[in-house]
């Protein structure tokens, strides 16, 4: 279970896309079985231990109460579980040198990072902005302070600690790519400043394959400029918004994510399962998605097709430069940037987000700004328009409908619609 960074680096050099589930179970035996099944999948995989949402918010009393009642949680409670149990969960991975990443979602990650370092784990993810603004009520400044301490502690761990920024996935959908790129790069700079020498930058598949390809190209170029002195790779997240209802639609969407990742030069892909729209997927469903994504990835040539330049890269660079101008420390610069609205995540309700930006999906499926607030982004009059509740629903369901529609109209047997 060591050597996450080394493993991904070697796989990428050999032309294999690393695929990874979002798996997390509170039952240690199930968590262990999930890691074993991920390792044995017919794909180049790394393992995942996703934590439960009580641990995410530090409500350990609720974790213990659930354990006493025998109520399953939506993830593995790594902080409150005794080390011997967790070491057994990880023992198969350790024996086979299988890398494992801990995923959590916490704006105050101190206990979680302490626990995973004590267990000898060398990979986790998140970030002071990406784990604070979308899901929590914690003030951004508190999150930046907590993340500073934890990143420094993690960077001092033995081996080659690897930290992924979740900044390329803000709110999962309806965030134009320039802002996602800026946020993941800025979190990467924050990690580096606090001692991290190996990191990954994220980007989520959104509403347009062409725009996503342009964005990944831009992310690689900017990372090569600003993070050339640290080991880094790009991780793509399969679509995180409202999923197709049909299995065929869901698999087609995942296949497109795998193509996007390979062509865009990403080293790793976080998959979704068709079941995830309705419930927590089983181990077998996770393995099936991993193998499907890997099979598609093997059919895609590594060469990047020509991408358009609609200005995503220039916009991202402008945002990054505007933030870095605010303070010499990236953490303080991020706090000031949100306070001044220089960064403003559309539809994010957190009290520290200005909340004056809006985005829409245009006729070609690309995400565009409807309002930019105080961000240093050029406005295009044709784009600036209010977003209505009905239009918002349309944007949120756009991908679901596009991928389900061909299946529902071409006579596919009803059996796949379950």
């Amino acid at each position: 279970m060591t050597g996450f960074a080394t493993f991904v680096r070697a796989a990428h050099a050999a032309g294999h896309l690393v695929v990874q589930p979002r798996m997390g179970f509170s039952d240690p035996a199930l968590m262990r079985a999930g890691l074993v099944a991920t390792r044995r999948a017919h794909a180049t995989t790394v393992g995942t231990v996703t934590l439960d949402s009580y641990t995410r918010v530090g409500d350990y009393a609720a974790v213990l109460a659930a354990a006493a009642e025998g109520t399953p949680l939506n993830g593995y409670p790594i902080v409150t579980t005794d080390d011997a149990t967790t070491r057994h969960v990880l023992s198969d991975s350790a024996r086979h040198g299988f890398p494992v990443q801990v995923r959590h979602g916490s704006p105050l990650p101190g206990d979680i990072v302490d626990a995973l370092v004590a267990l000898g784990l060398d990979a986790t993810e998140g970030g002071p902005v990406s784990y604070c603004l979308p899901y929590s009520r914690v003030p951004l400044r508190e999150s930046v302070t907590a993340w500073s301490r934890s990143v420094e502690a993690f960077a001092a761990a033995p081996g080659e600690p690897h930290l992924e920024s979740f900044g390329g996935c803000m709110l999962g959908q309806l965030c134009p790519p320039s802002l996602l790129i800026a946020l993941t790069i800025l979190e990467g700079l924050f990690f580096r400043r606090r001692g991290i020498a190996s990191l990954s930058l994220s980007f989520t598949q959104q509403t347009s394959a062409e725009q996503d390809a342009e964005a990944l190209h831009a992310l690689r170029r900017i990372a090569a400029d600003l993070l050339h002195d640290v080991d880094h790779h790009i991780v793509v997240y399969a679509y995180m918004g409202v999923h197709p209802r049909t299995e065929a639609g869901s698999l087609a969407l995942l296949a497109d994510a795998a193509r996007l990742a390979v062509r865009g030069g990403a080293a790793r892909l976080i998959v979704k399962t068709p079941a995830e729209a309705h419930r927590i997927p089983t181990i077998a469903e996770n393995v099936s998605s991993l193998e499907h994504a890997a099979a598609v990835a093997r059919t895609v040539g590594p060469e990047e097709p020509a991408v358009e330049d609609s200005g995503v890269e220039a916009e991202a660079r402008t945002l990054i430069a505007a933030v870095l101008d605010l303070h010499e420390d990236v953490g303080e610069a991020l706090v000031r940037a949100f306070s001044a609205g220089v960064l403003d995540v559309p539809y994010c309700l957190h009290a520290d987000n200005a909340g004056r930006s809006r985005a829409h999906v245009d006729g070609s499926g690309r995400l565009r700004w409807s309002a930019v607030g105080s961000m240093p982004i050029a406005r295009s009059d044709q784009d600036l328009r209010p977003v209505t509740s009905g239009a918002l629903l349309g944007y949120l369901h756009r991908v679901e409908q596009r991928y389900d529609h061909p299946v529902l109209t071409d006579g596919t047997p009803a059996a796949v619609l379950s």
Partner: protein, 151 residues
Amino acid sequence: MLNHLRDEGRRVLLCTVSSDSHTWNLVFLQLLLEEHGHDVTNLGSCTPDDLVVARCLSDRPDLLVISTVNGHGHADGKRLITKLRREPALRTLPVVIGGKLGIAGAADVDRAGELVEAGFDAVFAEGADLSGFNRFVSTARERRSLEGAAP
């Protein structure tokens, strides 16, 4: 078509329950309510019970709308409405809850009655008609005090 609903804008406090980090439902409802002429204060994700009670007491909204989709709405909603109704000043505040309230799908519909009994004025479960919700928001008036409500 919307005109008959626009005659009186209400001051609406919008929130979710303490365990629910989802926000797209809150973003959608804010836009919808504003389009119908209401003045919306959106408290965002994971709203703690005490914050909701405090803001109801300080803001004195015409109406409280609670939207939740994480499947804990029955348990969390019942606890929240009990705390709200314990405040003498909030016994008659119109309060509505809606969204995906449980994890059992259709079987949850039967449980709407429990929520009304606990003190909600209306319950709009998953799949409910939006026009019914809009009508409720525009016409809800202070409810009569709960029978048998504490002293």
